[in-house]
Amino acid sequence: MIDIAPTIAASSSRSYNWFDLAKRHRVLLASIFVLIFPFVMPFTALAVNILIYGLYALGFNLLFGYLGLLSFGHAALFGTGAYLCGIAIVHFGLPWYAAIAIGVLSALVMATLIGSLAIRTRGIYFAMVTMALAQCVYYIFYQAVDWTGGENGLRGINVRAINLFGLHFDFINPLVRYYVVASFVILAFFVLSRILASPFGAVIEAVRENEARARASGYNVVATRLMTFILSGGFCGLAGSLAALHLSIVPIEILHYETSGMVVMMALLGGMGTFFGPFVGAAVFLLLENLVSLWTVHWQLVVGGVFVVCVLFFPEGIWGTILKRIKP
């Protein structure tokens, strides 16, 4: 096959335009954005919230945007991470880093359980099964009052300081707290980007594009789906753990199906299947919630209106539309 040599040479020596360059360095760019973000926000606590829900939406989008499976039960993964991180601190007095590790691990286990049961269904059935299982999780945590505080939520997650490698950070200071959370979010950007660029990332896309073809090509579609669900759960568990540390309480509402529905809205608003879109969606959603509620208690009406306009006129989401417009 001598005649194909020029093609290969052309592709390897191709010069990248700025768009491709930005795409290659998406982790760096997203990290820079996160680092300057609190200075353009009205108050830092909101910026921390956006980081946490942005991370939650990022993890959800791995399943929804990249694999094409709509889960309506991701609150169970977010909430499990939050509760188990909190329980590790409140009931076992573990240090913050061990609590985060437990939060992530427990979300991975929960994702394995829910995923194994739901993954064989598709479309609306998958959405319904995940929602039903998430409701089961809600009631289990609701009933386990001794461990979770039941309807009062889990209180007393008091992390006042972060000690790492001999350094001492005051976790009460909002900006310090922001950058502690941001460092985990940047780590998550990096890991997610690696997954998407990996061979498995290609399999995820292939399964989304055409299941029958992927199967005929020799890929185990069910195993691919389950693994993606579990990975997605890991990111959501990390987001949940950070939420527990940030709020110093885990409200039972974190497991409510509204939390599941919210992340669907965030991903759609920002742009499903784009790297940074879910983060943009979370930011817009929470900004609207915070700014509009200063003016009227019916902030949901405004958020709902923006959502409907987006879905109807910008089906690729805010970030997806921007990318499409600026692509050279």
């Binding site: 290969i8 594009e209 055409n210 090509s217």
Partner: protein, 254 residues
């Protein structure tokens, strides 16, 4: 080469039947497929060709009977294992990854045999895959389409791409379900040339509705009718068969 790989029979079905509820789509088909030749499965609409094809490619499981590939029973194997055995198929309806590039379509096909669950290394570091994908694209005549989105290709090109994807498995047995369906005469001619070229190195089993098309290129022909195996033999033998003439050739030449 092992002893089984050298056997002249690559694929065998023994008494396979397929029921859909009470409807008998295929009834007790026993047939052997020779290595290294083109065998065509023909028959009028509703003869059970596609059902039989789906049994051979593992998409369906037979209600009764057995399918053997190179001497081992593959009847109840999950479908994704077939590619790893050395059996690849193209679909009757165009089946590609529409939003991926033409090159990526083939590269993903190749990757299934190298890496399926690695979530950490960059996929661009898998050695040789991109180059091999370009070779296969050249083979099926899509070299200059490599950067296009697969959905933007013409119909005939998409079918060629599918064959390129099937070849990514480096299969010993290539199953093609109506590869010229919906093609213009020119596209059909190109596709037939391609199939003949591919058959030099591997066994090809072809399902085809247009019988004139396959008579010229096939070494053996199986004729299905109402789910039964009506006749089999060389194209000349099948053409002379009285029953075949009656149910298929006589009515309406395709």
């Amino acid at each position: 080469m092992t002893a089984t790989a050298a056997s002249p029979i690559i694929l065998r079905t023994t008494g396979v039947s397929k029921m859909f509820g009470k409807f008998v789509a295929l009834n007790n088909i026993s047939a052997e497929f020779e290595r290294g030749v083109i065998t065509s499965i023909i028959g009028p609409n509703g003869a059970g060709k596609s059902t039989y094809f789906n049994l051979l490619s593992g998409a369906f499981r037979p209600t009764t009977g057995k399918v053997e590939f190179e001497g081992s029973d593959v009847t109840n194997l999950p479908q994704h294992r077939f590619a790893h055995l050395g059996i690849a198929k193209s679909f009757q309806i165009t089946n590609i990854f529409p939003h991926l590039s033409v090159h990526e379509n083939v590269r993903v096909g190749l990757q299934a045999f190298v890496s399926r669950y690695d979530i950490w290394r960059p996929r661009s570091m898998l050695p040789g895959l991109a180059e091999r994908a370009d070779e296969l694209l050249a083979l099926v005549g899509l070299k200059d389409r490599r950067a296009r989105r697969a959905r933007d290709l013409a119909h005939g090109e998409q079918r060629a791409l599918e064959i390129g994807m099937a070849l990514a498995a480096n299969p010993r047995l290539l199953l093609l379900d109506e590869p010229t369906a919906g093609m213009s005469p020119e596209e059909t001619r190109v596709m037939m040339d391609l199939i003949v070229r591919l058959a030099g190195e591997r066994t090809v089993i072809l399902v085809e509705h247009k019988m004139k098309l396959v008579m010229g290129i096939s070494h053996r022909v199986l004729v299905l009718h109402h789910g039964e195996l009506l006749a089999q033999g060389t194209p000349a033998e099948v053409r002379q068969n009285e029953q075949v003439k009656r149910v298929y050739l006589g009515q309406r030449e395709h």
